[in-house]
Subunit: 221 residues, 2 copies
């Protein structure tokens, strides 16, 4: 009965890719049915035929994002610190596709922060990613490639570093070419790997509100 045979799923994928392209170009603020339709060379009638409402459309687009992020070729690396490095490199916008994905990701933060449900989804996603990173950090510590310390804390720090680097690279790609991103990441990992001077494990800020003395190690004074 259809004009072309079993293309229902394939057509849905086409639509999702058009959504992807619109998102990469104009972000969520510029995501409209008309924009997707023209990007696809069709009309809104086609879109509503496959997705009853815009909500379903963006949901499927976000599924595509997550699926792409999950199924993209991960870097292979031996256990320990190289695995940590590979996981972080996989986050950075080192290629055109990774740049698009990260750009969409950042764009989704606006709508996500406005909606508690979506906000929770993002938080959960980051927590999961952090969990994986923590395991990698732990094995690296067991191998003696990273100094002791709460792996959860180290993973959170590493993820923060990578996330911030993503944002900076998106806004100033000329100042943060792939090579520079890798350089920054490797410097960060090197500083992590170097044995840390002894500092009091208990945070001195627990008693006072916040903003206590300068960092742990006081060279002079």
């Amino acid at each position: 009965m259809p004009r072309t045979k079993g293309d229902h799923e394939a057509r849905r994928r086409d639509v999702s890719e058009a959504v992807w392209r619109v998102l990469a170009a104009h972000g969520f603020g510029g995501l409209t049915l008309r924009a997707v339709a023209t990007e696809l060379g069709a009309t809104t009638g086609l879109l509503t035929h496959y997705f009853p409402a815009k909500r379903d459309l963006v949901a499927h687009a976000l599924d595509v994002l997550e699926q792409r992020s999950a199924s993209r070729p991960r870097r292979a690396a031996g256990p320990g610190l190289p695995a940590v490095r590979a996981a972080l490199l996989d986050i950075l916008p080192l290629t055109a596709e990774a740049t698009d994905a990260n750009r969409i990701w950042v764009s989704s933060w606006d709508v996500a922060l406005a909606d508690p449900a979506l906000s929770g989804d993002h938080a959960r996603r980051y927590a999961q990613s952090r969990g994986k990173l923590r395991d990698l950090v732990a094995t690296a510590q067991e191998l003696g490639e990273l100094p002791a310390g709460d792996p959860e804390l180290i993973a959170a720090g590493a993820q923060s570093f990578a996330l911030g680097l993503v944002v900076q690279a998106l806004f100033a790609p000329a100042s943060f070419p792939p090579q520079r991103q890798v350089e920054l990441l490797d410097d960060y990992l090197a500083s992590l790997a170097s044995p840390r001077a002894a500092m009091s494990p208990a945070s001195p800020s627990s008693s006072r509100g916040e903003d206590p003395a300068p960092p742990g190690r006081h060279p002079g004074r």
Copy 2:
């Protein structure tokens, strides 16, 4: 002639604060003239009286954001590493106001990435902030509180770390309370301060060893 005397500027500030509140609550995606008007207990006629177009309104709101960021009480800290720490602490969402500001900031990334002009503004802003940070890092190095190394690179890394921590804290405030943010930052600074070996200790992957990701062109498309 006016209903109340010299309140022109004061009224503009009122409007800007209403814009601020709407942005903090719903982000740029939820910023409409009606929303601002009801938030202010007025109508759109008032808004257009003080700001001819929405463009001017959001521009002024962003000016307010920048002005607030610039004029907020900065942490005082002696030169060297404490100054670096203070500058980074000033970025983090440690208070309710700082959280609002950062939430608006993140929200603006969506619209900024869609508009090259705004994108350039943001890039310039971050570059400037990075420049200041670099100077602080340099003096800390002169004081021997930080090991040698390109201060520009160190500043970029520190900014990335703070930025990413902001994002994480916004999405999972329960997992990243102020105390934890400070703890993470101090850990990061401690690892920076510790003298870095030449990457020999037990790290098989040299800094420029393998890199599956070819440094191809980045943005394009």
